[in-house]
């Protein structure tokens, strides 16, 4: 089986869904009781499917289509329509399971392959920042409600697109760099140009400091990616494993080990972000010392 699967899934969001989901199980556009307008935000693929026997909401990118109404939305870019569509898929998921017990809140799977948020003038006029923000708030709310949210990076997870579609997940998984995955704010060359640093020096430094270099391995060290997957065929089982762990942690009231905050702790454990914890501890003790005055 595995030899028929594409080794490189960059730009192939829909193919990735075939690899990830039970054959024929993906019902595109349908989330909960509603079906979204198929013309809306074609760069975002949303729907309901079965993954390892579980019903999940799927939110993915389609890099092969253009949005006919917004010319800068192509190649997997997340535009206004796409971001709001993704947000709606999350809210419909929350609504569908509103009365379900914690153990039955359906998971949300983010299949990540986007180079960025739409960098256009119309987008700025109407507020691209609101669109990407709306999706993030929806995901954060879904996690609060107990829906396990797992991000699977199959291609590009870049800067604002990664923040919007990925970094609010409980757990973030990435195919290893051998599969062409890209995780960064900017390629090292661009960072070198903008910061006027020497590229060779940056490359040398990134061997010991993971904070500016591009790639899943560096994000792993910072706690920004929980697990790197080498064989694409393993993705469904690994995703299912993480979903099970998220259910367990939520049931044990240990949600603080998940999501952006949990990854902060993980970053310290992996030796990647060590000053973060010092700052948080110091501030907490300073505010505690001021408590009497502040509550007088």
């Amino acid at each position: 089986m595995s030899d028929t699967r594409p080794k490189n899934l960059v730009g192939k969001g829909r193919e990735a869904l075939e690899t990830l989901l039970a054959p024929g199980s993906f019902s595109e556009g349908a989330v909960g009781t509603q079906t979204l307008d198929p013309a809306l935000g074609p760069g975002a693929v949303v729907g309901t499917a079965s993954l390892q026997g579980r019903t999940v909401t799927v939110i993915a990118n389609d890099a092969k289509v253009r949005n006919p109404r917004f010319p800068v939305v192509l190649a997997g870019v997340i535009g206004l329509e796409e971001a709001y569509k993704m947000a709606l898929a999350v809210y419909l998921t929350i609504e569908a399971d509103r009365d379900a017990p914690l153990a039955e809140k359906r998971p949300i799977l983010l299949v990540v392959d986007s180079p960025g948020n739409a960098p256009g003038k119309v987008e700025e006029v109407f507020g691209m920042h609101l669109a990407t923000g709306a999706y993030q708030l929806a995901l954060a709310e879904a996690r609060q409600a107990g829906h396990p949210v797992v991000a699977m990076i199959i291609g590009r997870a870049i800067s604002g697109a990664f923040l919007c579609h990925g970094l609010q997940a409980d757990r973030i998984l990435a195919l290893s760099a051998a599969h062409g995955t890209m995780i960064h704010v900017m390629p090292l060359g661009s960072i070198a140009r903008i910061t006027k640093m020497d590229i060779e020096r940056l490359e040398e430094l990134s061997k010991t400091n993971p904070v500016f270099a591009s790639g899943a391995g560096y994000f792993y060290k910072l706690g920004g990616v929980e697990e790197v997957i080498d064989d694409p065929a393993d993705m469904p089982a690994v995703i299912a494993k993480h979903i099970a762990e998220i259910y367990k942690l939520n049931a044990e009231d240990r949600a603080d080990e998940l999501g952006p905050w949990g990854r902060g702790t993980l970053g310290a454990e992996r030796g990647g972000r060590t000053k973060r914890g010092q700052v948080l501890d110091l501030m907490a003790s300073q505010v505690a010392a001021l408590e009497k005055e502040l509550l007088s």
Partner: protein
């Protein structure tokens, strides 16, 4: 030393992050948190030969406005463009965590008295992630977004944008995700900076050196017409502070009712705007101003804040101030 009263009339646009943080709060109440004396500067800049700052470009503090404990996050644009790195990002996250901890104590001590509950002000001046420590900065942005969601239903979070560099990149959506935004006409909020848009669309479509165009696209007056800048304040520390005081006197439910995003209904509302964008395909923001019923749009940029507020027609109908 300049007195607190004198500082109130200073330009918000020109004020340093520390001045904004201190003088937005009641006189003599400001305590800086993880201040310069803590010496927690960036661990990543020295190896790159880049200057460091004791506060890492983010001033955090707490004080009072009336009876409320009020936390402030204030970004310093003069230090590496107000960019957010590991330490500055952690300071932002720490403020939310501290406010949440204090909220529980305040709610227990003063049951039913909203005027005693903490609030958070964020005075933005930033282009988002600090490239010198890009990965850590990115992760910090995600943490801040999560904290904003955790604060909902408890703590009002207000955005203030009126500083030189505006509020762009990931911090653009952080500001959009708060309960409410106050801007001056000199403030700018967006996601993608002008240079990148020029690179993508070409100079004919978007000239990044055209200051008037940039203000029409992302400036305070435009955002006020569109409804995402809920209030427009004059360019003084006092004007921002007075607006904050008026808002913090409201019940929480009324404060959070100003939100632009954060619910299915608000997403539907924004989708309506997106449909409008597709329909009228504006070549310039001024076409949208005209759509909402404004006449003589070419004169809008030159109006004083007061004149503008008297005459403007906004998406939400009339002036919101």
């Amino acid at each position: 030393m300049t007195s607190w009263t004198e500082m109130q009339n200073r330009s918000f646009y020109e004020a340093t992050a520390r001045q904004r943080a201190k003088y937005l709060l009641d006189e003599g109440t400001f305590h800086e948190l993880v201040g310069p004396e803590a010496g927690l500067s960036s661990p990543h800049l020295p190896v790159l030969g880049e200057a460091v700052s004791f506060d890492d470009g983010v001033v955090t503090g707490v004080g009072k406005i009336g009876r409320r404990p009020v936390f402030v996050i204030s970004q310093e644009g003069r230090f590496i463009g107000g960019s957010v790195g590991e330490v500055g990002g952690a300071k932002m996250v720490g403020v939310f965590q501290s406010a949440l901890a204090l909220y529980e104590k305040a709610a227990a001590k003063y049951p039913g008295d909203e005027s005693r509950l903490p609030a958070i002000l964020i005075s933005f001046e930033t282009g988002g992630v600090r490239l010198h420590e890009a990965n850590a900065g990115l992760l910090a942005h995600a943490e801040v977004m999560e904290q904003i969601q955790i604060c909902r239903g408890k703590i009002p979070v207000l955005s203030l944008v009126g500083s030189k560099l505006g509020c762009f990149g990931g911090m653009g959506f952080v500001s959009g995700a708060t309960d409410l935004t106050i801007m001056s006409e000199l403030g700018r909020v967006g996601l993608t900076g002008p240079e990148v848009i020029e690179e993508v669309l070409g100079k004919r479509e978007f000239d990044a050196s055209n200051r008037a165009l940039i203000y029409r696209t992302t400036g305070g007056k435009h955002r006020h017409i569109m409804g995402s800048a809920n209030y427009l304040a004059a360019d003084t520390i006092h004007a921002f502070r007075a607006q904050v005081q008026r808002i913090l006197a409201l019940p929480y439910a009324e404060i959070t009712a100003h939100r632009s995003i954060g619910s299915p209904a608000l997403v539907e509302e924004q989708l309506g705007l997106t449909a409008l964008a597709a329909e009228i395909k504006p070549k310039d923001a001024a076409e949208v101003w005209a759509y909402y019923g404004n006449a003589n749009c070419e004169t809008i940029p030159d109006l004083s804040t007061d004149e503008f507020l008297q005459h403007v027609k906004t998406r939400k109908g009339g002036s919101a101030s």
